[in-house]
């Protein structure tokens, strides 16, 4: 039946999607969503209507930072920090500037993270949202600096921080400077923590590498979305080391919960309410009752 659907769609649109060689049929990328976890195919309209969650396996697919903000915070409550900050090319890496410029045009983002202040059901917080559409949300100077400043401003204003993490790791085009952002952000988390303030991490797809090995793993409370990828080393690197295939659930949110590195897994549809109630538990009652 699905095969038939593909054929119909193909005859109508005749678009080739290279990544779908396995099924020998082509999916027009803009009309259908194919789940990278279970292969389930959904109409894009249904997928979008379901907050971009796979109806078969409950995989919580990637969101842009703007989509995440819209889904999470109170309407019109967002005041963005440092929105014009842009990376230089500190080690003179070939093609880096051109690559970033293209991505800026394509995504409308200046770099891979948006930070600012907002309210969630009237409770104020500083929010950090990474966006994997910009160089897989790798952490370079701008990501590190914006996150460090977000924590420092939260200390000044005595606000909690909520960070939605997603990252492929360090931004290697910035060489050693990108590695040092791990130390910089972790030190800022420490100061915020020592000030007695709440920090909640929400790990989204994918949270890996240097971001997992720094601020993402340092929340007072660590939440993950269902089925997302969370880990330090890349799957292929590990498979190369051990010379065997890893089980499918390796480095999933559920795997991390099982091993004690995540406090709870929260579905997207419950995220806003959950964050709101956690803020209330930590002394931010807001102006409206939580339902």
């Amino acid at each position: 039946m699905l095969e038939d659907l593909f054929k119909t769609v193909r005859s109508r649109f005749d678009v080739d999607l290279k990544s779908d060689r396995k099924n020998k049929v082509s999916i027009p990328a803009d009309l259908l969503f194919k789940c990278p976890r279970c292969g389930n195919v959904m109409f894009m309209e249904d997928f979008n209507g379901a907050n971009k969650v796979c109806s078969a396996c409950n995989y919580h697919a990637r969101l842009t930072a703007r989509e995440r903000l819209q889904m999470t915070i109170d309407k019109d409550s967002f005041v963005e920090y440092d929105k014009d900050m842009m990376s230089k090319n500190p080690i003179g890496f070939a093609d880096y500037e051109e690559k970033m410029e293209k991505l800026r045009q394509k995504t409308g983002l200046k770099d891979a993270v948006i930070t600012g202040e907002c309210t969630i059901k009237t409770k104020p917080c500083v929010i950090v949202v990474m966006d994997s559409t910009f160089m897989m949300a790798s952490m370079g100077s701008v990501v590190g600096e914006k996150i460090a400043r977000a924590f420092e401003r939260a200390i000044e204003k005595k606000l909690p921080v909520i960070a939605f993490t997603a990252s492929g790791g360090a931004r290697m085009q910035e060489g050693i400077l990108s590695l040092m952002q791990m130390a910089k952000t972790s030190a800022a988390v420490k100061r915020h923590s020592d000030a007695g303030l709440l920090y909640i991490t929400v790990m989204t797809d994918p949270t890996t590498g240097g971001v997992t090995a720094s601020f993402a793993s340092l929340g007072d409370i660590i939440i993950a979305e269902p089925k997302v990828l969370i880990g330090f080393a890349g799957r292929r690197v590990i498979e190369g080391t051990i010379k065997q295939r890893l089980p499918d659930d390796f480095q999933s949110a559920e795997f991390l919960l099982e091993h004690g590195f995540v406090d709870m897994i929260v579905e997207r549809k419950n995220m806003r309410r959950t964050l709101s109630k956690l803020l209330r538990h930590h002394g931010y009652p807001g102006n409206t009752p939580d339902l």
């Binding site: 290697m172 791990m182 910089k184 090995a213 330090f232």
Partner: protein, 267 residues
């Protein structure tokens, strides 16, 4: 300083006779006692640590262990720590804080180990925890890269008041081989990647990441261990008292700013 390329320096640090921390510890520290275990899971031989005396002053020494032969390398996992190694390092660092001893970290690792067990036990969390705790640990910290400083696995012992590099040591966010295969889909371009990533001691000083380059004997540390030890000893003799005389509040503020100011951007 000699005018070698990043790749030529990598060949020097890969020399099988290059001294390791097992050569340096007995030569630099008197009455060294090694302490074992993270108190949670086990004892990782990729990181060793303990207490010894440097010119009459007790210090805590924590080091990544490269083997000098296959047997030693099997035992120390080629210097690639598991989470329990980083947790042992943190335990000993906190012990140093309690007893007001300066800490000397020796970095020499291709990186944190990538494997199933390492993920199950939270490699990311272990490194992150070290970065957080060391950023505010109330005792002087010196980190010295002896050979290879491999990414986050090195940084977990590299949050410090002063970072020094041996003259031929390298410190990189990713191995040149890894960078070449990801960026250019061609691992054989690792020489070019080594150059492009700016990983030498000199590069790190000019990028504001390292404070000092410790000179090596001509041709590399393996050519004259005694002279290398002398240079290391001179460096520590100058640096430990300098950091120890700093009031703790200043020291911590400077440490925060050392990392805080790294990064280049426009706004």
């Amino acid at each position: 300083m000699s005018n070698l390329t990043a790749w030529e320096r990598m060949e020097i640090i890969r020399n099988k006779n290059r001294p390791t921390v097992k050569d340096y510890i007995p030569a630099l520290f008197k009455d060294f006692f090694e302490f074992h275990g993270d108190r949670f899971f086990g004892d990782d031989h990729a990181i060793m640590g303990g207490v010894g005396s440097f010119k009459g002053r007790p210090v805590t020494v924590i080091a990544q262990v490269k083997g000098r032969n296959i047997e030693e390398n099997k035992d120390s996992n080629f210097g690639m720590p598991h989470p329990e190694g980083y947790r042992k390092a943190l335990r000993l660092a906190k012990q140093a804080e309690k007893f007001h001893r300066p800490i000397i970290f020796f970095i020499d690792t291709p990186g944190a180990f990538c494997g199933i067990a390492a993920e199950e036990r939270g490699q990311g969390e272990a490194i992150a925890r070290n970065l957080l705790e060391l950023s505010n640990l109330k005792t002087p910290i010196i980190s010295i890269v002896l050979g290879e400083g491999g990414s986050g696995g090195a940084l977990a012992l590299g949050v410090c008041d002063e970072l020094a590099m041996l003259e031929n040591a390298v410190y990189s966010v990713i191995s040149p081989r890894g960078a070449a295969s990801i960026l250019w889909k061609d691992a054989s371009k690792e020489k070019e990647a080594a150059q492009a990533l700016k990983i030498t001691a000199e590069d790190l000083v000019s990028l504001g990441v390292a404070e000092e380059v410790i000179p090596e004997p001509a041709g590399g540390a393996h050519n004259n261990l005694e002279l290398m030890v002398e240079h290391l000893s001179d460096y520590l003799e100058r640096t430990i008292p300098k950091l120890s005389s700093e009031p703790i509040a200043n020291l911590l503020e400077n440490r925060y700013n050392k990392f805080r100011k790294i990064g280049e951007f426009t706004e």
